[in-house]
């Protein structure tokens, strides 16, 4: 089967003249999930993104927790979709090999007020349909998390909170969608929408794109797309979250996701293991105007370290591997803003705030139902081709430790990135995959190469050389394809 993935030049000619049946704008974790869900049907589907890769907006920069939804606003759409999304994604991760670890969370109370809040949170969890949470005392807490700072009084244990790979997830969705026939167009920004009779014409940075139905999953820019379709319902304001990633040698300091007890200032700063074997500290919560401002600040890092020192004092003496920031799409409403517009054959998927990774598969199912309500015919669903993603997780079997794999192909025994122990074989596979990376960063999100403690001191130049070689080869293929 030929896959259609384009990254440059005019969009391929659309035939017949009404173009695609559905176009999903935004290939973040939400848009990619929607495209994948649609791919079950015999439809002509496009997934377009302004960026040069899938999942490179908010979806690449979060805390990567698969939430049970125990603390959602009971009765909200978000509460339902997070709960459903948790189960769907946990299963999907099991099928496809997306790294996932059920480490459990502890909401730690550091003072009397916080301790007094815990029973209410337990009650809320129950109202959200989550029954496995329980209160634990200071002694059990200390036994479970011996490196916790002094003064912790007790905790709410949420055993099913899990950590997941934020990069493999959207990539898996998009890969499966493309393999099932969805056209993926990258570097393709939607600049305006022209509503014709039966067909919308999207003017993109790569030329016109005609489509009967539109799904707007543009994340931080969802309100702009919404206005292009004549609505004026919500405005996205970015809430920045800065994070610090500590070295793998710090991993033993933390067993669970250590959540703060939510206060008036929002969810607060957590300490959590990552599926790559690191430890995460963050995020901050800062209201901004600039939807592109993913910079870190001295003040933000100072604040994180101060909070981190209280939670796990030894953590802040460990080496820092990475610092990054993500932007949540706040819309002034404590819920998602998912809305169908039958007359416009359009569904807006806005305000997917701080739980979109978890809820993605449930959002996708919900949106596809809404699309049906806008007149999209959904007949003859079929199973998607099964998918296996490379095991990026520290807990999954890694190629550099597999005698059988190396015996079959010595490239899996040739380590290129020493900090993350990424082999030449894995890099080669990523460069030849269905959705190949087109940058060193894209390769890092697919293999972990160059993402470790030395940040390129040892392997940076070698990895760059491999990417330049690989993308040049892919470019040739693409020419040939056209």
């Amino acid at each position: 089967m030929t896959h259609t993935l384009t990254t440059a030049g005019p969009l391929p000619a659309q035939d017949p003249c009404d173009g695609y049946d559905v176009t999903v704008v935004g290939a973040g974790v939400v848009g990619a999930a929607i495209a994948r869900e649609l791919a079950r049907y015999p439809l002509r589907i496009a997934l377009v993104d302004a960026a040069d890769d899938v999942g490179s907006g908010t979806s690449k920069a979060n805390t990567a927790i698969l939430h049970t939804g125990f603390d959602a606003v009971p009765g909200s759409l978000e509460a339902r979709l997070v709960r459903e999304g948790y189960a769907l994604l946990a299963d999907y991760a099991g099928e496809t090999g997306i790294p996932l670890e059920r480490v459990g969370a502890l909401l730690v109370a550091w003072d009397g007020d916080q301790l007094a809040t815990l029973p209410g949170l337990l009650d809320k969890a129950v109202r959200n349909g989550y029954h496995a949470a329980r209160l634990i005392g200071a002694d059990e807490l200390r036994a479970r998390e011996p490196r916790l700072g002094p003064g912790a009084l007790g905790a709410l244990e949420v055993p099913d909170e899990s950590i997941i790979c934020p990069w493999t997830t959207p990539l898996a969705y998009a890969t499966q969608a493309v393999r099932a026939g969805v056209h993926l167009h990258l570097n393709c920004r939607v600049n305006s929408v022209d509503q014709g009779g039966d067909v919308h014409t999207l003017t993109t940075s790569r030329g016109p794109l005609r489509t009967r139905h539109v799904v707007n999953a543009a994340g931080l820019h969802a309100d702009e797309i919404d206005r292009m379709l004549g609505n004026d319902v919500f405005t996205v304001t970015p809430r920045r979250g800065q994070l610090i990633v500590y070295d793998k040698l710090a991993r033993d300091l933390v067993g669970h996701i250590l959540l703060p007890v939510p206060g008036p200032g929002g969810k607060g700063v957590l300490v959590a293991p990552t599926v790559f074997g690191n430890v995460l500290l963050g995020p901050t919560a800062e209201e901004l105007d600039d939807r592109t401002d993913t910079a870190s600040t001295a003040e933000g890092l100072r604040l994180l370290r101060e909070k981190g020192r209280r939670i796990v004092p030894r953590l802040v003496d460990e080496e820092v591997t990475a610092v990054y920031a993500g932007l949540r799409a706040a819309t002034g409403q404590e819920d998602y803003r998912i809305q169908e517009y039958p007359a416009l054959r359009y569904v807006a998927v806005g305000g997917i705030r701080s739980t979109g990774l978890t809820a993605s598969l449930a959002i996708a199912r919900h949106v596809v139902e809404l699309l049906a309500a806008t007149g999209l015919e959904l007949t003859g669903p079929r199973d998607l081709p099964p998918l296996t993603m490379p095991g990026l997780g520290e807990a999954s079997p890694r190629p550099y430790l597999s005698a059988a794999l190396i015996a079959g192909d010595p490239a899996y025994g040739s380590i290129v990135c020493h900090c993350e122990q990424v082999t030449l074989g894995e890099i080669r596979d990523a460069l030849a995959s269905t959705i190949p990376p087109c940058s060193v960063d894209g390769l890092r999100r697919r293999t972990r190469a160059r993402g470790g403690r030395c940040q390129g001191f040892h392997c940076g130049a070698a990895v760059r050389a491999l990417v330049e070689e690989g993308t040049a080869a892919n470019g040739d293929d693409e020419e040939a394809h056209r």
Partner: protein, 429 residues
């Protein structure tokens, strides 16, 4: 060699296993093989042996280390980073040849990935997985420069941010395009080496920036030197557009550039040591060790920059040769009984001392002196060594030329240390 298969791993035994084929590991291998040890094996994870000098295309390697010779070399120094001797690749080749002709086995492209016993390591290479048990292990895994993230420099995450190590490899090993205008952060010798590499790649060096005061610095090389300036942020997306600075007087400016090299600020590659549960020294962040290069685990030794990031290559090689003696004692069973002596602890503004445990048998470090680093330059500091309030030694030290250069402390007091007493303290009076 004996070979057997377990869990898909080939198990083997050697006499001495050396991890890392930089100047330290190669020198240790050459010395041990020349001393008649049969099975000396050096493992190197890179495809080429030689360590960091492989990509240091400037001169200055293997230059004499004596004070007078150094002064002469300094006077002859070429504009950036010269200093006599040979260039890095030639130096690396010389060490490889010496190790091989002495009879050491050198295997490249093989990574030590972890431990399976006190002196047993697991390896990965294109030929498969191995489990190698040695009678003695020498860790010579070297050091690296701290990247931007570890230095907590805020701002955007643009392309164009390098450490010297990555820059040198990009230019000298891969011939990659770098940029047009660069700022180098750090004025240690390696910073000037970075400036030289940038110019060789056709990049204009806008400035070398240091937070040190002007009065203490001699001009060096061809690059404009900006003193008393701290980097407060990086700007630009997707490519670097500027480096934000705060000057001593509180003024802030932005240097416009598309490339920045974060030089110096070395940290030992101590992962293997730490994963093996060896005691680390809190100051150096390398394995704690005594004058005979013994770590906290019997039969596991360490040499080179993993012990004290970072000294010159010649010094690392000297340590590699010196480690051979205690390793031979171990093989011959004439090693002094194990058990570490008291640790040596420095007080601020000193940052670390190496070696940093007293050792059980009064062994003396190479050159009969300790290395010390301070957080700031010190003028003719008086160093005092005490144990349990008892002064063991007092000495005036020559001035260090900055945080990137070591002070020396004579080692004669070591035999006055009470091996069962508390930590020995080193302070600046």
């Amino acid at each position: 060699m004996t070979g057997s298969e377990r869990n898909g791993r080939t198990a083997r035994d050697v006499d001495v296993l050396i991890v890392g084929a930089g100047p330290a590991g190669l020198a240790a291998g050459a010395e041990l093989a020349a001393a008649g040890v049969d099975r000396v094996e050096i493992l190197e994870r890179e495809q080429q042996a030689g360590g960091v000098p492989r990509h240091c295309h400037h001169g200055g390697f293997g230059a004499p280390t004596g004070l007078l010779a150094r002064a002469r070399a300094l006077a002859r120094r070429s504009a950036d980073g010269g200093g006599g001797g040979m260039d890095g690749p030639a130096y690396a080749r010389q060490h490889v040849t010496a190790a091989l002709s002495a009879g050491a086995a050198l295997r490249t492209g093989v990574t030590v990935t972890g431990w399976a016993g006190p002196r047993t390591v697991d390896t990965t290479g294109p030929a498969g997985l191995e489990r190698i048990t040695a009678r003695a292990v020498v860790l010579a895994t070297g050091a690296r420069e701290r990247p931007r993230s570890a230095r907590l420099i805020p701002g955007t995450r643009p392309a164009g941010v390098y450490t010297t190590g990555e820059l040198q490899q990009a230019v000298h090993l891969y011939g990659q395009r770098i940029g047009t205008r660069a700022v180098v952060v750090g004025d240690e010798p390696v910073g000037y080496a970075a400036a030289g590499t940038l110019r060789a790649a056709g990049v204009e060096v806008v400035a070398v920036v240091t937070d040190r005061r002007a009065s203490r610095l001699r001009p060096h090389g061809r690059s404009p030197l900006l003193t008393g300036a701290t980097v407060t942020g990086l700007r630009g997306r997707p490519r670097l557009s500027g480096v934000e600075l705060r000057h001593e007087d509180g003024r802030t400016t932005t240097l416009s550039c598309d490339t920045v090299v974060l030089s110096g600020d070395f940290v030992p590659d101590h992962e293997l040591a730490r994963r093996g549960g060896l005691v680390l020294d809190p100051g150096t962040r390398g394995p704690a060790y005594d004058a005979a290069f013994r770590t906290s685990r019997p039969g596991v030794f360490a040499a080179g920059n993993v012990l004290h990031a970072v000294e010159r290559a010649g010094f690392a090689a000297e340590e590699g040769r010196a480690v051979a003696v205690p390793v031979l004692h171990r093989l011959l069973g004439t090693e002094e009984p194990g058990g570490r002596g008291p640790s040596l602890v420095v007080e601020a503004p000193l940052r670390w001392i190496a070696p940093n445990t007293a050792g059980p048998d009064g062994a003396r470090p190479p050159g009969d002196r300790f290395l010390l680093r301070a957080a700031r330059p010190l003028t003719l500091p008086v160093l005092a060594v005490t144990q349990d309030g008892r002064e063991l030694h007092r000495q005036r030290s020559l001035p260090s030329s900055g945080p990137g250069r070591s002070l020396h402390l004579a080692a004669g007091w070591l035999d006055r240390v009470d091996p069962h007493g508390p930590a020995v303290r080193i302070a600046v009076l």
